[in-house]
């Protein structure tokens, strides 16, 4: 980590104009259809400056909602030409990302689409990884979590740099923005915006003010449970049939919002557009909350009811991700809590699993 200086309060979004002039695509919180969302912007005036979390994550700029995988064309002799589109992805800066999304996308989602770190598999998805190489994640620390946030519970925090190339934190009496760099991509970003940086201040004072700002924000979280206890509960196969899954999940309406807004959800499907003579196959987001997701061609359905499908989502976040992809499956952004139309709350699952585990331990003692 390197603390490189500050940007004066109120000037951070000038970065947008600065980078756009240099031909860099900038993705920042902006209004789309009346909602604050991550989308490409070209000027500071387009940015929503007073925001906590955009409704979408910036995942879609690395793992698009739909993208072409290849095209086919049938020749007259019945043979096919199969062509992959060029992977000429634009250099992109995500500006104003939040630490929960940075950890989720830059570490967790990346581990899914990479070859396995522990040699369990070698398959790497170039569509994600080549975009990732060309994307710089510049996060702004949160100063005011809302009631749905729980990143601290997941071992992260409103000023945690995991997954960020650059982290910017409003600090000190004037709210100046302290800029810290965590990667070579971050270094290149700083070079691009150097004219906006103020340097030469006392590094120890800035560091102190920046830590204090993070500390203050950390004190404002309310959804607290122990992920170690949750994992221990889920690791016990006997608990797979615990009544809590059915009780909490029956009301789920299978809309899939939680999965589409989730920064770590990675499930996708392939669809063919066109016909046998010519067309394209696209990779599209999918959701484990849909019955068709797992149903076999024979009609056999491994997860016949909706609460079983939500149980899979909960397990994926708090157990499967860790077991298979060796990273956090949830970073506590809280979108699935905030935006569920029927208030299915993954932290309720976690808190009740935690409570169950503690009770089970007490009963054993």
């Amino acid at each position: 980590m390197k603390l490189v200086g500050t940007i004066p309060a109120g000037r951070v979004w000038d970065v947008v104009d600065h980078l756009s002039r240099q031909g860099v695509r900038v993705v920042a919180p902006t209004l789309v259809d009346g909602l604050c969302q991550f989308a490409p912007v070209t000027g500071a005036h387009q940015v929503v400056k007073d925001y906590l979390l955009p409704q979408n994550t910036f995942k879609e700029f690395l793992f698009p909602k739909q993208e072409r995988v290849f095209t086919w064309l049938r020749r007259d002799d019945g043979s096919y030409v199969v062509t992959e589109p060029p992977r000429d992805f634009p250099e992109t800066v995500i500006l104003g990302g939040r630490p929960c999304d940075a950890a989720a996308i830059g570490v967790s989602l990346k581990s899914v689409f990479s070859a396995s770190a522990s040699d369990r598999w070698e398959h790497a998805d170039p569509l994600f990884l080549e975009r990732f190489e060309r994307t710089t994640v510049v996060c702004i620390s949160c100063d005011r979590p809302d009631l749905s946030c729980f990143c601290t519970t997941m071992g992260l925090g409103p000023d945690d740099p995991t997954g960020s190339d650059v982290l910017i934190t409003a600090s000190g009496p004037d709210g100046d923005l302290v800029v810290e760099v965590f990667s070579p991509k971050g270094e290149r970003f700083v070079e691009r915006i150097r004219p906006l940086l103020i340097t030469g201040q006392s590094e120890s004072l800035l560091r102190e003010q920046r830590l204090a700002a993070g500390q203050e924000a950390r004190g404002r979280f309310v959804r607290v449970f122990d992920i170690g206890q949750v994992k221990a509960f889920l690791d016990n196969p006997e608990n797979f049939d615990d009544e809590l899954f059915q009780r909490l999940g029956t009301k789920c309406v299978s809309c899939g919002v939680c999965t589409f807004e989730c920064p770590t959800c990675h499930c996708f499907d392939f669809k063919d557009l066109g016909d046998t003579t010519g067309g394209e196959r696209i990779k599209v987001w999918d959701s484990c909350q849909f019955p068709a997701f797992t149903v076999h061609a024979t009609g056999h359905q491994p997860r016949p009811t909706q609460w079983e499908r939500y149980r899979n989502r909960f397990l994926c976040k708090f157990k499967i991700y860790e077991d298979v992809f060796e990273t956090l499956g949830c970073t506590g952004c809280g979108r699935c809590v905030r935006d569920c139309p029927v208030h299915v709350d993954i932290t309720s699952y976690a808190m009740q699993s935690h409570a169950r585990q503690v009770t089970l331990l007490q009963l054993k003692a």
């Binding site: 995988v69 290849f70 790497a124 998805d125 996708f268 196959r281 397990l315």
Partner: protein, 304 residues
């Protein structure tokens, strides 16, 4: 997790390297021959259109692939031929969905797409010297048929071979020609059975479900010719309800869970551990399977 029937290195070396650039992109393969097994089951013999692809292609017994009809979609099938057969490979499918429906309408010479091979494979070495039971019904048979052929290629290395092949009716029995051949061999016990009501006049096989017939017929073979249940290994594939009863029958015969090998048929899309569809608890069937022993399957949550 390692048990008999599953290669101990399954997690590290079982996965074929797929070059990053073509992770989801199929290679064109030509339908060399179509064998209409039944009214709704076909075998395709396939060969790569590009000789470079053909030369580079190898697979192990029990691996699977993704088969594409361009413009319709992709479906997952086991590669049902023996890896020792040169110049082509096979898949076998029942016409049941969009892709298989489109495949059933194809003609010899048509071109489809193929990605693979994927997944782990049967551990032939662990089977040497043992009595082998193959039990599957309907379209569950192709994923163990590749292994039957592989065993027959080195028949002397194995003990008794019993095959229980079931179908809903005599009209649904696949691989009739090779089964007839196997029936004539003295070193194979070939038992074919159809569900009650599926037997026509003059039917010369058994009548009953695969698990029942298995339990009635196989212990006798193991006692008389084999070295008893402790030396046997069983291979099965089919819908979860059938495999459950097959495992129960085998268990009653004294065959341990680690001696029973299943190949799972979960729904898949990517086949490379990304699309999130085939997992049973923390087990990704595409990466760690599709071949597991029954002890491993029993340890998985009831999410199957």
């Amino acid at each position: 997790m390692t048990g008999i029937g599953m290669s101990s290195s399954a997690l590290t070396s079982a996965h074929t390297r797929v070059s990053a650039a073509s992770l989801y992109v199929p290679k064109p393969v030509r339908v060399r021959k179509i064998i209409r097994e039944t009214h709704d089951v076909c075998t395709f013999q396939l060969e790569f259109v590009d000789p470079v692809h053909a030369a580079a292609f190898t697979y192990r017994t029990g691996q699977f692939g993704e088969f594409s009809v361009f413009g319709v979609g992709e479906a997952t099938f086991n590669i049902s031929s023996s890896p020792n057969w040169k110049g082509y490979f096979e898949c076998c499918f029942r016409k049941i969905g969009l892709v298989t429906g489109a495949m059933a309408r194809l003609k010899e010479g048509d071109v489809i797409g193929f990605r693979g091979p994927y997944g782990n494979s049967y551990d032939l070495d662990a089977m040497h010297g043992r009595d082998l039971i193959f039990a599957a019904g309907g379209i569950g048979f192709p994923p163990i048929r590749c292994l039957v052929w592989r065993v027959l290629e080195e028949r002397e290395k194995f003990g008794s071979v019993v095959i229980v092949h079931g179908a809903r009716s005599h009209r649904d029995l696949i691989y009739q020609r090779e089964m007839a051949e196997w029936s004539k061999r003295r070193d194979i016990h070939m038992i074919k059975t159809v569900d009650p009501g599926g037997d026509p006049e003059g039917w010369d096989g058994e009548v009953g479900f695969v698990p029942t017939v298995l339990e009635e017929r196989v212990p006798w073979v193991l006692e008389r010719e084999g070295k008893g249940p402790a030396n046997a290994m069983a291979f099965t594939c089919g819908p979860p309800v059938m495999t459950k009863f097959v495992i129960q029958a085998l268990t009653r015969m004294g065959i341990g869970l680690e001696q029973i090998v299943l190949t799972l048929e979960n729904k898949m899309k990517c086949a490379v551990g990304k699309c999130g569809r085939c997992n049973i608890g923390s087990t990704y069937v595409c990466l760690e399977g599709p071949i597991f022993n029954a002890a491993q399957v029993r340890a998985m949550p009831d999410d199957q």
